[in-house]
Structure formats: C-alpha cells, structure tokens
Amino acid sequence: MSTPVVVHTKDRLSGVVQLVGRRPNDIERRWWESALVFAFFTIGYTWFGYWVVVDMHVVGFETLDRLNRALMVWHNDPAKLSAIGFDYPPLATLLIAPLAIFRGLVTSLAVVPLASAIFAAFTMVAFNTMMRRALIAGPLRYAVLLALGANPMVLLYATTGTRHFVWIALVVTALGGLFAWYITADVRFVMLSGIAFSIASIAGYTSLTFFVLSAIMIGAILARLGADGTEVEGTVVGFASPTVYVIALWTVFNFILLLRPFAWITRSSDAAASGGLETFSAVELLRATGQLVLYGAPIAIIVLPALVFAGVARGNPFALWLGVMLGASIVMPSAAVVLRLTDSPMLMRNALPILLISMIGAIWLARSADEGSTLVAALLVVALVISIPWTIQAMKTYRYQNLEAPFAAAITTGESQEGAETLAREKVGIFSEQAMAEYISNNVSRDNSILTDNAQTYAVMMLTGHPEWFFDRIDQSDGPWKIALRDPAAHGVLYLLMSTSDNGDLVTKLYADAAAGSDAQLQVVFRTPRYVLVSVPAGYKPGGVTTGQFGES
C-alpha cells in the first residue's frame, strides 16, 4: 500500500512569513463607528468652514481655481476633462469634481469647505481605526480625535477647501494599512496600502516620498523576519506596482499631450505661493525647520526621539520606520528649498504632514507601551490640547504662510477678514470676484462670449457657475485662444474679462489700455477693484481698425 505525495497548499505556504489567504485575528469591523466619525467631522468641518469662508471670507484662491476647473469638467462648452490641467496633481481636482456637478452648490461656496472636510474626516476615520488597533479605549480615542480635530492648522486646512487634506488623507490611510499589516502580518493590508498610495501619488506628489520609504520598510521588515527573496520581492512589487503604474501612465499621458513626460513635476506649482524663492543659508534653513516644527507640530519634538528610542533600544522596527517617516516629513520642506523644487519655501502648511505623522507615531508608541498605552494616549491628548493656543498664536506671526494669520484673526476676533492682508501682503476676501460674477450673471448669457485668461480670472468664472459663457484657454487649448485674443470680434467675443493686477493676465497684457479704461473702442462696462469687463464692438480689430465686415458697431 504505497502513499503517493501530493503537495498540499499548507506545505507550499509553510515558509511564508506573512499570513495569506485567510483572515487573521484582527479588530472587529465597526463600519458604524467609522461612519459616525466620518459624519461627525464632515458635518462639523463643513459647518465651521461655511462660517470661515462665507462669513469670514477666508478662502484660498487655489481652492477656487480647482473648483472652477471641476466646474469646467462638467459644464464647460465643450465639457473638458483636460480642464484639470497640469498645475495640480490630477486627482486634487478630479476627486472634488463630483461636488461641481450642481452649479448652485459651487456659486454658493457651500462646496468649498466640503471639498476639504470630506478628506479631513476620512483622515480622522483612519486615525480612529489605527487607535482601535492600538487598543486605545473608546473615550480616549474620541478625546484624541477631538483634540487633533480642533488643532488650528488642521481646522484651517480641513475647512477652507484646500487640496492638502486630499493627499494627506490617502497617505494616512496607506500608513494605516501598513500599521495593520505590521500587527496582523496579513498581506492584504500591503495591497490596500499600495492602492491608497497610488491614489495619493496623483493627488499630491509629496506622497511619493512616503511611498518610497514605505516600500523600503516593507522589504526590510520582511527580510528581518526571515522571508525569502521571492516573498520580499513579490510583496514589494505588489505594494509598489499600483503607484508605479499610475505614475508611469501619467508620465506617458504628459508625453502624449505636451511632449514633455515630466511636465507633471515641472509644471506643478503652488498656486497660492507667498512669493519667489528666497536664498537660505544652511543655518537659516535649520532655524526655519526648527520653527516649523516648534510652531506647527510641537508634538513631533517628543514623538520623534521616542520613536527612535523605541526602534533602536527596544528593537521595534516599525517605530524606527515611523521615526524615519517623521524625520523625512520634517526635512522635506528644507530639502525642497535646497533642490529648488518650490517657490513657496518653508510654508507653515508643511507642518500639517509632520503633525499627522507624529500622531501615527504617538499611536504606535501607545500600542508598544502595552500596559502604559492608556497613559501614552492620555499624554497625547494633553499635548494636543496644549498645542492649540500655542499654534494659534504662532499662526498670527509665523513668517512663511498663506492664510494662517487671517484665519487665526477670524477665529479669535469673529470678524470678517475681507480686505485684510496676509503676511505676504496679499488681499483676503472675494467681494471683488462676487461683484463681477454677479454683474456677468445678470447681463451675459451667450456661450463663449467673454474672452478671458482663466488662469487669472477663475474665481469670477467659478462664482458665475457658467464656465460655458467664457472663451477661455481650456475650451480649444491655448493656440486657438491666442488667435482669438488677437482678433476677438472675429471669434464672436462680446466682452473681455481682465484682471487689473499685474499678475500675468495675457488679456491685460495685450489690452493694457482697455484694462486701464483708456481704450476708446473697448469700453469698460463694469469694474471692481481686481477685475474689469470691457465690451468688444462687432467688427473690432485691435489697432483701431473697425471693418464693416461684421456690421457697424
């Protein structure tokens, strides 16, 4: 009686260090808790954000630009997916595009806070799940979430529609996936993390740094656990392939459309930059980095050494890796300056990822503290609460910033910031845009009748809710638009909408007299402090030639 040998699945998997094909002992799924956290923060931030944006007039123009692009995706004539452009990572605009399906929501500005609140709430859900895996008790978890949620930096970026929480939410989710993977050894979490990183990578290119560090960490941890080369390679490939694929495809797409494969990096800029790139000495950079951490994310000062200690002295590789991630997030702003990858150096918003990665580090430290986890979580709550007034104060004075000071002023005084100036000497508020948009809405209704440089007048376009009225650089791309710019009447244009400030508006450059109100043929029909609308007579030819070809004006 012979017994033939058949290789059993169990035998095949006997040398695999990860858990594959089955569900490990993990926390119980609580979709309702996640839904409640999500709903609470979405509603809370949207409600608060509506007050900040609509009543206090603290709103970033970058947000309005993206919303205008989202509006064009649905309502332009013709509807244009290419409106998302290359200035922002594509998903930074695409992910909020659904919010622009209904024009009314956009023109009322109600979607502005929602555009960031959703992603901030998603981040809170990821933190809550992480804390559940770290076995932090419910009341403490909620206290941590509230303390973090009330942090003024978090509040500003969660409520004013900015794009930063879009990629941050995805990176935190991805890191949460690796957090779960390290605890459970379940390979599925690596895949989920990989997918989250792939989306994050085209929602914010900064996430690529965290992605690369994570890929290295996965390989290193597996090797340390004794996985063979095939398992290490396969896992890293499985983790990295979505991001590599997405970036490769985006590069090819850039090549096809622009003949510049890396335009997605070179053309990407911060639309609301505070000014040109200054020159920093090493000492200045070091000091600026220290100030950034001290004012924007003070808990990192405690968490970083604690992570390094836990990683090195107590043989906790995940803590060490989180320490590396936190260190990278601290170093990145100054690295961007050194590599001249930004024209907005050392902005205070760079503290946001530092703060949130510090949070992940603190949660991991709580988990690693075993019996002391409650104490660590309680200390985290205290630290977060103490940092609230500290950060508000810093926001008012920190040198490199966007809307931090007006925001801090708004929440401390309760007064509208319309007309106030940022520390970079930019005007706050949208009265000018609202007034122009209102005039256009009341007086214009023909498609493609207002020629404008949408790169400068997006806020007006957005507030009208009718991008199809405008003959912009998106409609038929730059080439045809520039031809029409030189002979607007021949292209059915009735008005020119220009920005009055010297900020690179191509229409203003060509029709400077008209913008100044001194062109006899191009009469100003409406003017606000920042915009001017002039009429284009039929048959108008730049240079004062009016032909009868299209009828007398």
């Binding site: 058949v6 594959v20 569900r23 895949m191 989920l192 896992t235 490939v237 694929y245």
Partner: protein, 715 residues
C-alpha cells in the same frame, strides 16, 4: 497474571492494577474509540511511567504495535477478559447502537482476517493497516484490503463465497442475454449492484456484488416476478455488465434529459426565435441610424461599449476589494478535519472525464488514491468515450480496484464533456459528487472539507466550489499569466460572488454537488461548451446557492499558445452561449434571480463581450496617439470621453492589479512580476474571444479539446 510489555521491556509478573480498579481519567481517551473496539484494548492505569493497557489478546503483535504507535510512553499490555474490556470501553465511549459492531460482524471480520493471513495472502503489516482503517471507518475489512490493492477483488470474492457458502460467477467475458438482464429494472440493478445472468422458468440466477439482505431480496424478487439465486461476482465485472446492459438508456438520458424536460434552458438551440428577431431589429435600427446620422450613431455605439466596459471593470474591482477586506470562504480548520468521524462520511462520487488521455491515467489514479478519504467510500467514475480505445484499454490493463469504475460512453453526438458527466452521474452512488479533470491534483483533504462545508452552510447551498490553480505555473510566461488569472478569479472574485449570493459561473472542475439536487436540476447541458458556468446560473435560478471553500485543486496550465487559444475560445463561446440561453426571457431571469443577481449575471457574462471590444479600443487609441485623427476625437465627446478615459486609466490599472492581488492573496509571490505584464495576456484573450465568437455561428457545439500533459515534467 500474564503481562506483555511492548517496545521497551520484556514480560514480568507482579501485582498490578486491574481494569476493575477503575480507569484513570487522564488515560481513558489516549486511544480512539474505533481502535479500542477493533483491537479490544483500553488504557486504564499508569505504573512507574508505563501505561497499562487492557487487551483481550495481549500476545498479538499487531495489537501491541498499534497501541504503541498511539501512546508516546512505554506501554504494557495486560490481559483481561473481553467482557471486562468491552465494559470499560462502553463506559468511556457510550455506544451508539448503530455504530457498534455486532458479534456476528466481528466474527466474520476475524474469520476473514484469519483466512487471509493463514493462507499467506496478506502480510501482518497490510492487515494492521486495514484493521486501523476499519477502526476508523467500520467498513468491511475485505473491501479495505481490496481498495488498497493488498488483495484482488477475485480473492475477496472467493473468500466471501467461502464464508457465505455462496457460488461465484465469472463475468469477465460474459455475453448477457439482454432480455434476461433487463428483467431487473435499472434503478434496482444500479442500487443493489445486481443483474440477472440466466433464467429458467422458475428461477433467476442473479449476479450480485455482495449478498443481498432480506429486504433487498424481497424487492428484487418482486421486481423479477420469480425466485432467484444469488451468485457472487467481481464488483468491477458486474459494474461493467450493468453498464453494457443499460448503455442505451444511459446514453439517451445523458443527451436528452435537459433538452426534453427543460428545453428553454438547453443550449441545443443557440439563439431563440425571439432573440433572432430582436437582434435583427436592433441591427436594422443601427444600420438605418448609421445611414441617416452616421456620427451620432457611431458615438452612441462607442458610448454603449464604453459604458459596458466601465461597469464590468467597476464590478470586478468592487468584488475584489470586498474579497481583500475579509475572508469570504466557508472555513474548515485542520482540527475539524482531524476530528471528523469517518464512520459517518458519505459515499463520494468523483467524476473524471477522459478523452485520449491514456498517459495521464496512472498519475490520476495515484492522486485520487492520495485523497484523505476512505477509499471504500469513494466511487470514482473514469468517463471515457467509446472511440478512445487507448484510454479504455489502459484503464482495463491497470486492473484498478473496484472503487474505480471504468465508464465507457457510447459514441454519439454531441461528444462533449457534459454529456460524459451526465452519463457518469446516472451511475453515481455517492451522496455528493465532484468533477475532477484528468490532470487535477486536489488538496488531499478537499473531500472532507466539502463534507464539513455542506454540513455548515445554509440548506439551499447545493454546490461547493473549490479553488483552482496550476501546478506548472513556472513553466513559461503563459502558464504564469494563467496562474495570475486563476488566482484573481478563484481567490477574490468567486469568493466575493459567493458571499454576495450572486450567481456563480462554476469552474470547470472541483465543484462538489449534492448528487440528488444535481439530478433534480437536470445535470449538465450537453450542448453547452461551458456547461459548468451554465449549471451555476441554472442552480441559482432554482433558488439554490453556491459556496466557496478554501481548498485548491491544481491543474495543468496550458503552456502552448495554440492549445491555450483553443481552450479559451471554447470558454468564451460557452459564456456567450450561456448568456443567450439565460437571456431568452430576461424578465423571468430577473424574477428568479432578483435585480442583484440579474446584474451580476450580466456583468459576469459581459466580460466575454469586453474581450471582443478590446482590440477595437486598442486600435482606436493607438491610431489616435500616432495620428491625432479628428474623427476619433469626435467619437468620444464629453461624458463618453470621461468614461473612456476612466477605462484607460482606471480600468487598465484595475485589471492589472487584480492579477497582482490575486497572486499575493494566494501567497504566490513569484508571480506578481508576471502579473504586471498581463496586458499582453489580454491580447491573447481577445484573440481567443473572437475565435470563439465566430465559432458560435459556424460550429456552436464543437468542443475544442484541450491537450494535457504538456507540462514537460513540471509536475
């Protein structure tokens, strides 16, 4: 007092505890009940580190060996009376009336063992193994010995004939008188394994596999209408005779049952009249529109195709995410398998269709014998076509034990695998049945897992699908891609569909059925070339469900492109065939499956159409990249462009990643690299899809046979 110490020391005499002093609580379960009862032993005390085991025959070397193997301490057999030991066993393992061997049965078993050992036909080792299996299963010792090829069936028949004082009959070259042979109706002949071989006016000579009991005898006598005398026959020969006698009936049923009882569910008509009319009207409408409004019509067609593409992609992604998020298979642990009471295991039928696969038969037999399931409870049907003389002869030459049944399917059209399976199903004796292909290598515990799963799932689950994958995945790029695809399909997509109670297109093999329900459903459609997928949908329509188990059957992946194309073209043709069959009356389908099931069915089958669309979209994209042709831009206005863009970016990503995720989920880390190149595999899939699509019109029932055994020793 006589004692025998096994293994460690010799015999000694001194005062020791007796069974009557009581059984030590810590030792009472050291030996399983079956072994205690079979060998009449009971561990009861410990003395100086030695376990004392009461034994009726303390000098029996086999008993000593079996006991020593199960106790990891020194053991000493202590002679006790049978009554003492049985009493102790009954107190430790309270007897279930039906499971305890009767004194007569025990006498017969001992008589059989003595007969065979004294005549030198079996060795002690063979007897020991057989006794152990007997202790687990309670099956006849002779049958166990035959199933393990320790003795032949002829030897067993001779022994039984001696024991029961019955005459034997040789049927090897017997030519039956069909009129006589058919006097016993087929159901009885099949159920009792009996057939009349001769008759006089007042007596029928009935060949039987085993002596009939009184109840069976009465039933047979009533059916025959006259007294009969039983003659013991070789089970294999008897089985062949029954098949020959009733071949015409079996062939008729296997071809026509579904077609005649449920014509609306049979694919013998490819497109129904209503469908033809619908397709013609649609075609005319599209052509007319194309003439009057060429560009809008083209846009509408492109839009519809893009939408189909998008929803199919989204659906698969959603399924995969769900499967990644949780464990959806019916779980059976190793402990549960170890704890299974083999005496309660049902007869399990294994259907193995074979065609021109003589070379693979020895391996097949080896792998089936390696299953962790008592061979005496296996009913393996090796289904061969009549014209495949080489395979038939090969099986005959191997003189397989009687749990293997050679089934020769008479040559008739359609000559398809489902027809062969239908034929075999009629001969099946198992409560459950499963299909394995000739080259399949199921996980050894798969049958036990399926039995446990069936006992655990809802009562409407009549099918349990095991996972499929490949053993030669490393052979070349094609086999690696194939393994990627199977990993995705069976590790992620099907478990998610099963958990969602969606209609599951069953895999070609390793689907385990409740046999009666399968018969009730009309079994497989012999005219459908993906009869498995069709059956999955059909059972869902009847209110039954399919569950997945976490057990894998390894198959041979096609390693040569032409062979792969043939196989895949058949699958695609079958998918479209299945879609056409079930969409003959969409409203009825909707009513039977519900909206969720209806959508799931259409989206699943829609993947066959997506494969047809692929080359068209690829061509358009390539053309546009190189020429920026304006007419292509016009074909994709607004929302259609968004859908197409989403497909380009998201759809491609989704399908590549599903392959990666499936392989990772399965722990096949070496395959993730090849998964990244799967777009090349899609090209082959589309090629095969078009071949199958064209064949649907030119040769709808043709079965593109897959050649096996191309794995070049990678097995």
């Amino acid at each position: 007092m006589t004692t025998t110490q096994t293994g460690q020391t010799g015999t000694e005499t001194r005062r020791q505890p007796r069974l009557t002093d009581g059984v030590d609580q810590d030792l009472r379960h050291l030996i399983p009940e079956g072994i205690c009862r079979t060998f009449r032993v009971m561990p009861y005390a410990s003395a100086g580190g030695t376990v004392l085991v009461a034994a009726a025959d303390a000098d029996d070397a086999i008993t000593a060996h079996v006991v020593a193997e199960r106790i990891d301490r020194p053991v000493q057999l202590v002679r006790h009376t049978v009554n003492e030991i049985v009493g102790a066993i009954d107190s430790v393992y309270p007897p279930q009336e039906t499971e305890v061997e009767s004194p007569e049965a025990r006498r017969s078993r001992m008589q059989m063992a003595q007969m065979l050992t004294r005549s030198g036909l079996i060795t002690d080792e063979q007897l020991q193994r057989a006794m152990l299996e007997y202790s687990r299963t309670g099956d006849p010792l002779g049958d166990i010995l035959v199933s393990h090829e320790a003795i032949t069936e002829d030897v067993l028949v001779a022994a039984l004939s001696e024991m029961y004082q019955m005459q034997r009959v040789g049927l090897t070259d017997f030519t039956p008188d069909l009129e006589v042979a058919r006097r016993l109706p087929e159901p009885l002949a099949h159920a009792f394994q009996a057939i009349p071989v001769a008759a006089t006016d007042d007596l029928v000579l009935l060949a039987v596999a085993r002596p009939l009991d009184a109840e069976q005898s009465a039933e047979v006598e009533e059916a025959l209408g006259s007294p009969f005398r039983q003659l013991l026959a070789n089970r294999t020969d008897l089985d062949q005779l029954i098949q020959r006698v009733h071949a015409r009936h079996y062939a008729e049923v296997s071809t026509r049952l579904l077609m005649e009882t449920r014509p609306e569910e049979s694919a013998h008509v490819v497109i129904s009249g209503g469908q033809k009319a619908g397709l013609v009207i649609t075609a005319i409408f599209v052509v007319v529109c194309a003439v009057i409004w060429p560009m809008p019509t083209a846009i509408a067609v492109v839009g519809a195709c893009s939408l189909l593409y998008l929803v199919v992609s989204f659906y698969k992604f959603r399924l995969t995410l769900r499967a990644l998020g949780t464990h959806l298979e019916t779980d059976v642990t190793d402990e549960e398998i170890a704890a299974i009471d083999e005496r309660r295991l049902p007869i399990y039928t294994i259907l193995v269709p074979l065609y021109k696969e003589a070379g693979i038969v020895p391996r097949l037999v080896r792998d089936i014998n390696a299953l962790d399931y008592p061979r005496t409870r296996l009913d393996v049907k090796l289904l061969c076509e009549e014209d495949d003389e080489e395979t038939v002869q090969k099986i005959r030459d191997m003189q397989l034990p009687p749990h293997f049944h050679l089934v020769v399917v008479p040559d008739s059209q359609p000559k398809t695998k489902p027809k062969a399976c239908n034929y075999g199903l009629q001969l099946a004796t198992g409560s459950f049945c499963v299909i394995f292909d000739a080259e399949d290598r199921p996980d050894p515990d798969q049958l036990k897992k399926a039995v446990i799963a069936f006992s655990r799932v809802a009562s409407n689950v009549v099918c349990v699908q095991a996972k499929l994958n490949h053993f030669n995945q490393d052979q070349n790029m094609l086999t690696a891609w194939f393994a990627n695809e199977y990993s995705m399909h069976f590790e992620l997509v099907l478990p998610a569909m099963g958990a969602a109670e969606s209609p599951i297109p069953l895999g070609g093999t390793s689907n385990h059925f409740v046999t009666d329900k399968l018969r009730e459903l009309g079994a497989w459609d012999p005219f459908n070339v993906t009869e498995d997928a069709d059956l999955g949908i059909r059972l869902h329509r009847e209110g039954y469900r399919t569950a997945m188990i976490d057990s894998t059957t390894l198959e041979e992946a096609n390693s040569q492109v032409p062979n792969w194309i043939r196989q895949r073209s058949r699958w695609n043709k079958g998918y479209i065939q299945t879609w056409l069959v079930h969409m003959r009356n969409p409203f009825q389908l909707l009513a039977q499956t519900g909206l969720k099931g209806f959508l799931s069915f259409n989206l699943t089958m829609g993947s066959a159409f997506v494969l047809l669309l692929n080359p068209i979209f690829w061509a358009l994209t390539t053309l546009y990249v190189f020429t920026q042709a304006g007419f292509i831009e016009q074909l994709f206005p607004g929302m259609i462009f968004y859908a197409a863009s989403a497909l380009l970016f998201v759809g491609n990503f989704v399908f590549v990643y599903l392959n990666v995720a499936g392989s990772l989920h399965r722990g096949e880390f070496g395959l993730t690299r090849t998964a990244l190149l799967s777009p090349f595999y899609w090209g082959l899939m589309s090629w095969a899809a078009w071949k199958g699509f064209i064949q649907l019109f030119t040769n709808p029932f043709y079965w593109e046979k897959t050649e096996h055994g191309l794995d070049e020793g990678h097995s």
